[in-house]
Amino acid sequence: MNNRLRRVVGFWALFSGPALWWGLVLLVPYLMMLAISFYTQQFPFHVPDFQLGNYLTLIGDSQYYGVLGRSVKVALLVSVAAFCLSYPLAYFLAFKVQSSRLRMFLYIATIVPLWVSYLLRAYTWKTILGSEGILNSFLMWLGIINEPSTIFLYNEFAMVITMAYIFTPFMVMPIYASLEKIPPSLMEASKDLGAGRWRTFIKITLPLTMPGILAGFTFTFGLSVGDFISPILVGGPYSNMIANVVATQFGISMNWPLGSALSVVLLFIVLGIITASDKLERVGRLNMG
């Protein structure tokens, strides 16, 4: 056997199995979902009668804009909240903790909550914010309120705080990584040239951590816009988010074509965010030379 042939044989010996697997259980399902989004629903079945109706329904029915708009709004609020929580923590870890051992310990402490069951982390907010919950009983004990309040749970605020809590470690990780890469000499130089603390931060630190911030926003936004569990647990009447509508169409409503069309929209939102943040990062890198 010549070398070239041997390489080809080697490649297929290695790869035919995985290729078959990935094709069958990953590519086919995605393509199938795309195809079904053009099918026609004839309750309780869907028939391969290709048309744009499902997408037209999404565009034509203002109810779906509302859901879509609210999902994007909540996902953005979650990302902003996670950012506000993450940056000071990451900055403190990267620049203010002197002992490298302590820094490693605190960093691991920050990402450990990621490995605590997602469901339990969402559920614990229900026990904190509920009318019989910890926050209420605490406020009553302090004497601030006289009777349990129902304003904390089952609204957008509860969804944002719960998801921000769950996804904050995803924001801390990339921001910390980008802060760590900044050569301290740059900040010293800025100081030596007379820039104050804030000026150094705005002109040097913040721009240099943009890639990390973008990555963090991409993670948190994608995760929260696709989350349908937290909204059900703590969102109450506001839990009708795009991911929940998809889940309903595949479950109770059994309208797969519409559900597929919505998943395709969701897929493009997430892929769009990922591509946009990639582009922004590249542009940023070019501008900074």
């Binding site: 923590l89 069951s117 026990t127 509920g130 301290p184 995760l223 696709g226 569990i229 597929s260 997430v270």
Partner: protein, 283 residues
């Protein structure tokens, strides 16, 4: 870090305020964020030992009752067992598919490689919901009944990306000349893989398997759509907490939290140690 050291050493000559407001504000803010991350987890743990069936303050008596109740609940234990089985089978799939995929990506160029690489990591890039409903579509259209097997295939597909990325990263640091030497010395490809390649990717493999198992143990969005009559642990917890709050869940939650943290710390430690030893990226 070095900024602080510089400030610290030159602090005497550079007139500094005795109490630096900005630094302490930052420390307080960081402490608050860490507290925010841990108070809910601590809540879960504390109330798993509290006798009041309602999760509210003040605390009442200390008790193990919820643990006893949880551990003697047959539905819950069946769900735990299902999760263990699903997790182990999913990890086997992850390894069986992930290792050859990573090897192929590392050493061969083939048409559509970039697209393929993107496709493989899609399940960890896109919301789990999308992978879940698309696989549901496929199984149902093929007339396959939903069961633990479909859940296993779902987890295997969604989590293999973790093994692929970790093993691929490890292969990039691995000196291929060792493999060539092994081949020159007459080893067959499988022998070279077993005696040379495998020991080198072992830690990445163990680490990513542990991570995959932990994630499978916690997986909801994919499981939600692919599960049949048998519940995994998260699906059982989900069905209970939708009805109401029970301290039994706090107890089982505390146990899971403990076990997952141990598994993850072990895997982080294994991979970290190994990366330190392996040196810089080759390519």
């Amino acid at each position: 870090m070095a900024v602080l050291t510089a400030e610290g050493t030159t602090g005497a000559t550079r007139r500094r305020r005795p109490f630096d407001i900005s630094n302490s504000t930052l420390a307080v803010a960081a402490a608050c964020v860490l507290a925010f991350l841990y108070v809910p987890i601590a809540t879960l743990m504390v109330f798993s030992f509290n006798s009041n069936p309602v999760t509210k303050l003040p605390l009442t008596e200390f008790t193990f009752a919820w643990y006893e109740k949880a551990l003697s609940n047959p539905d819950l234990m069946a769900a735990v067992w299902n999760s263990v089985v699903v997790g182990l089978c999913a990890v086997c799939i992850c390894i069986a598919i992930g290792v050859p995929t990573a090897l192929a990506l590392d050493r061969y160029n083939f048409p559509g490689k970039t697209v393929f690489r993107r496709l493989v990591i899609l399940p960890i890039t896109l919301p789990g919901l999308i992978t879940g409903v698309s696989m549901l579509t496929m199984f149902r259209s093929a007339g396959i009944e939903l069961s633990l097997l479909t859940v296993i295939i779902g987890h295997g597909t969604a989590l293999t990306a973790i093994v692929v990325t970790n093993v691929f990263a490890r292969l990039q640091r691995f000196d291929r000349r060792i493999e060539e030497a092994s081949a020159d010395l007459g080893a067959r490809p499988l022998q070279t893989f077993w005696y040379v390649t495998l020991p080198n990717i072992k830690s990445a493999l163990i680490g990513s398997s542990l991570i995959s198992f932990t994630l499978s143990f916690d997986e909801i969005p994919v499981t939600f759509f692919l599960t049949g009559r048998d519940n995994t642990l998260p699906m059982y917890i989900w069905s209970v907490i939708r009805r109401g709050i029970t301290p039994e869940i706090n107890a089982i939650g505390t146990i899971i939290v403990g076990i997952s943290i141990i598994l993850i710390l072990v895997s982080v430690f294994i991979m970290h140690e190994d990366n330190q030893r392996a040196g810089p990226v080759r390519k």
